[in-house]
C-alpha cells in the first residue's frame, strides 16, 4: 500500500482526510509536531506528502523547498490561501500541485493517484487484472482469452471506475462526476449511450452479465 504523509494542523480535517484516504486504499500518517519537519519527513519516507502552508511553527513553502533539495517525492500543497502569487511561489519551490480549501475531494484523489502513478513509472502496472477480463491501461482496451476489444476513452473510464468499486452500486451521478473531472462534460443521454455500447462490447467477450443495472440506483460490476 502506498503511504501518504499529511502535514495539516487542523485535527478534525486531518482525521476526516485520513478516513477518506484509507477508504480509498491508501495508508496514511500524520506529523503532529512541526519542530523538525524535514528530518521527520525524510525518516518516514512516504510516497506522497499533503502539505498545508500555515503550520504552527513552520512554513509549508519552506518545507517544500527544503524537501525538494533532497528528494523527488510528490508534494501536494493544500491551503486556504487563494491567490496566484502563493500558488506560483509554491510551484516554483517544487510543489507538484496547489489545491485550495475547501477542495474538491475527487479532484484531490485524482491528483494523488496520477502523481503516484507517475512517480512509480518503472513498476507501474499497465494492466489491471479483473479475474474475468484484463483492463489494458496503456492501450485503452479490454482483454479476455487472447481476444482484445478497443474501448473509447469514456467507455474505458466507466469500466475502470466500476472495476475499482467492484460489487458496489455506483450511481449515475457518481459516474458522470468522474467523467466530468477528466473534462468530458457528458450529459445523461450520452452516459446511457456509453453504457449501452460498453455492454455490447462486453457481450462480444461473453461477459455481459457482469455489468448489472440497478434501477433507480445505478450500476454494479459483479
Amino acid at each position: 500500500m502506498q503511504k501518504i504523509l499529511m502535514l495539516e494542523d487542523d485535527e478534525k480535517l486531518r482525521n476526516e482526510l485520513e478516513i477518506f484516504l484509507n477508504n480509498n486504499g491508501y495508508e496514511t500518517q500524520s506529523l503532529k509536531k512541526f519542530d523538525n519537519p524535514i528530518q521527520d519527513i525524510l525518516t518516514i519516507n512516504p510516497d506522497l506528502i499533503l502539505l498545508d502552508i500555515n503550520l504552527p511553527g513552520a512554513d509549508g513553502q519552506y518545507i517544500c523547498k527544503e524537501i525538494r533539495k533532497q528528494s523527488n517525492l510528490p508534494i501536494i500543497i493544500i491551503t486556504s490561501r487563494d491567490n496566484e502569487i502563493d500558488e506560483l511561489l509554491s510551484i516554483n519551490y517544487g510543489a507538484d500541485h496547489y489545491i485550495t480549501k475547501p477542495f474538491n475531494i475527487q479532484i484531490l484523489l485524482a491528483k494523488i493517484s496520477s502523481l503516484l502513478k507517475r512517480s512509480n513509472m518503472g513498476s507501474n502496472q499497465e494492466k489491471i487484472d479483473c479475474k474475468e477480463f484484463i483492463l489494458n491501461i496503456a492501450k485503452n482496451t479490454i482483454e479476455k482469452d487472447q481476444k482484445e476489444i478497443e474501448l473509447t476513452r469514456n467507455e474505458f473510464k466507466i469500466l475502470k471506475y466500476l472495476a475499482e468499486r467492484r460489487n458496489k452500486i455506483v450511481s449515475r451521478e457518481e459516474i458522470m462526476e468522474h467523467l466530468w473531472e477528466s473534462e468530458s462534460f457528458i450529459d445523461d443521454n450520452t452516459l446511457t449511450v456509453n453504457i449501452t455500447r460498453l455492454r455490447n462490447k462486453l457481450e462480444e467477450l461473453e461477459i455481459k452479465e457482469l455489468l448489472v443495472t440497478k434501477r433507480g440506483q445505478g450500476y454494479i460490476l459483479i
Binding site: D10, F20, S80, K101, P102, I105, W180, D187
Partner: protein, 339 residues
C-alpha cells in the same frame, strides 16, 4: 476678475485719495498759488495712483487666470498646490500657504480612512482563510458519510462557499492596490475549472454543457476569471427554463485585437428595459424578484467591477424567454491597460 470688481475693492482708497485731493485744492486756493501748480499737483497724484492700481490689477489678474486655467485642466483638483507657481505678492503667497495646509490636513484625513479600509480588507481576507478550514472539514465529513441528508447539507455548503467567495472578491475589488497577478492562461483550463466547481449542480439539474474552440491563451489572472465565470454559470443555472432542456455553450473567438469568450444559455433571458441596469449594485430586476430566485444583485456588479480592474470588457445580450449571452473580451498581447 473684472476691473470693476477690482475697483470696488479699492473703493476706500479711492474715496480717501479724492478727499485728500479736495483738501489739497482748498489749501492751494486759500494761499493763492498759481493755476499751474493747482492743476499739476492733483494731476500727478491721480496719474501715479492710476498706474499703481493698473499694475496691481494686471499682476493679480494674470495670477488668478493662470490658477483657474490650471484648476480646470486638473483631474484631481487638490493637486493644484503642487504645480502652481508661487506669486511675488504677499496676498498670493498667503493664499498658497493656506491651500497647502488645508490640503495636508485633508490628505491626512483621507489616509486615515484608507488605512482603516485596508485594515478591514486584511481582516476580511484573514477571516475568509479561517472560515475555509471548517468548510473543508465539513465537506470531508460529508464525503465520509454519504447519504441524502449530508448531500443536502453539501449543496447548502456550496452556497455558503459561493457567498464567501463573493465577499473575498468584493473586498479585493475595493482596494486601489494591485491584488492580482497577470500571466498567460489557457481559456480551456479556466473554463473547465469553473465548470467543475459547479459540477454537482450542473449534473443534478441535467444541464447540457457544450464547450468548443477554447484552446486559446490570454494574459490575465485566471483565479479572478474563474470567479467571474462562476458567477455567470450560476446565473445560467438559476435563470434556466424549467420546462426545457437547459444548455450552456461556452466558446471563444480570436480576433486581431482581442479574444472574446462567449457564455451562452437558453434560459429565461432578461427584459429589454433592464439590460442596461444589470451591472448596478443591488439591481435584481424582475427575474431576481420572483419568489424562487432570491437575488442579491451583487454577482454581476462584482463581475463588472473586477473586469474593469483587469482591463477586460464584459457585455451581456439577451432575448427575453430565449437566451442570454455574456461576452468577456480580453485584450490581446502582453500590454494590458490596468486600472
Amino acid at each position: 476678475m473684472k476691473f470693476t470688481e477690482f475697483l470696488k475693492d479699492k473703493m476706500l482708497q479711492i474715496i480717501l485719495i479724492i478727499f485728500g485731493l479736495i483738501t489739497i485744492e482748498i489749501f492751494l486756493l486759500a494761499y493763492h498759488i498759481g493755476n499751474f501748480i493747482k492743476i499739476y499737483i492733483p494731476s500727478i497724484i491721480i496719474i501715479l495712483y492710476s498706474i499703481t492700481i493698473i499694475v496691481e490689477y494686471l499682476i493679480k489678474k494674470q495670477f488668478y487666470k493662470n490658477t483657474t486655467n490650471l484648476l480646470n485642466e486638473l483631474e484631481d483638483k487638490y493637486l493644484i498646490t503642487e504645480i502652481i507657481k508661487t506669486p511675488n505678492f504677499t496676498e498670493g503667497k498667503k493664499l498658497i500657504e493656506i491651500l497647502e495646509q488645508t490640503n495636508k490636513s485633508m490628505i491626512e484625513k483621507v489616509n486615515q480612512y484608507k488605512y482603516a479600509q485596508e485594515d478591514y480588507k486584511e481582516y476580511i481576507e484573514l477571516w475568509i482563510h479561517e472560515i475555509k478550514i471548517p468548510i473543508a472539514t465539513s465537506k470531508m465529513i460529508i464525503e465520509n458519510n454519504k447519504n441524502q441528508a449530508t448531500k443536502s447539507i453539501d449543496e447548502e455548503l456550496n452556497k455558503v462557499e459561493n457567498y464567501i467567495e463573493q465577499a473575498l472578491y468584493y473586498a479585493r475589488s475595493n482596494t486601489v492596490e494591485k491584488d492580482y497577478y497577470i500571466k498567460k492562461s489557457n481559456l480551456k483550463e479556466i473554463v473547465n475549472e469553473s465548470i467543475l466547481k459547479n459540477k454537482t449542480t450542473l449534473i443534478q439539474e441535467k444541464i447540457l454543457i457544450n464547450t468548443h474552440d477554447l484552446n486559446i491563451n490570454v494574459s490575465t489572472d485566471s483565479k479572478w476569471i474563474v470567479f467571474i465565470l462562476n458567477q455567470i454559470i450560476q446565473n445560467s443555472v438559476k435563470y434556466r427554463k424549467k420546462e426545457e432542456q437547459s444548455e450552456i455553450e461556452i466558446y471563444a473567438k480570436k480576433a486581431k485585437e482581442n479574444v472574446t469568450l462567449y457564455i451562452k444559455d437558453n434560459g429565461i433571458g432578461i427584459k429589454k428595459g433592464e439590460i442596461s441596469r444589470i451591472f448596478e449594485k443591488g439591481f435584481t430586476g424582475t427575474n431576481g424578484r420572483t419568489a424562487s430566485k432570491k437575488s442579491t444583485g451583487i454577482g454581476l456588479y462584482l463581475c463588472k467591477k473586477l473586469c474593469d480592474k483587469l482591463g477586460i470588457g464584459i457585455e451581456i445580450n439577451s432575448i427575453e424567454n430565449k437566451e442570454t449571452e455574456v461576452k468577456l473580451i480580453f485584450p490581446n498581447g502582453s500590454h494590458v491597460d490596468i486600472k
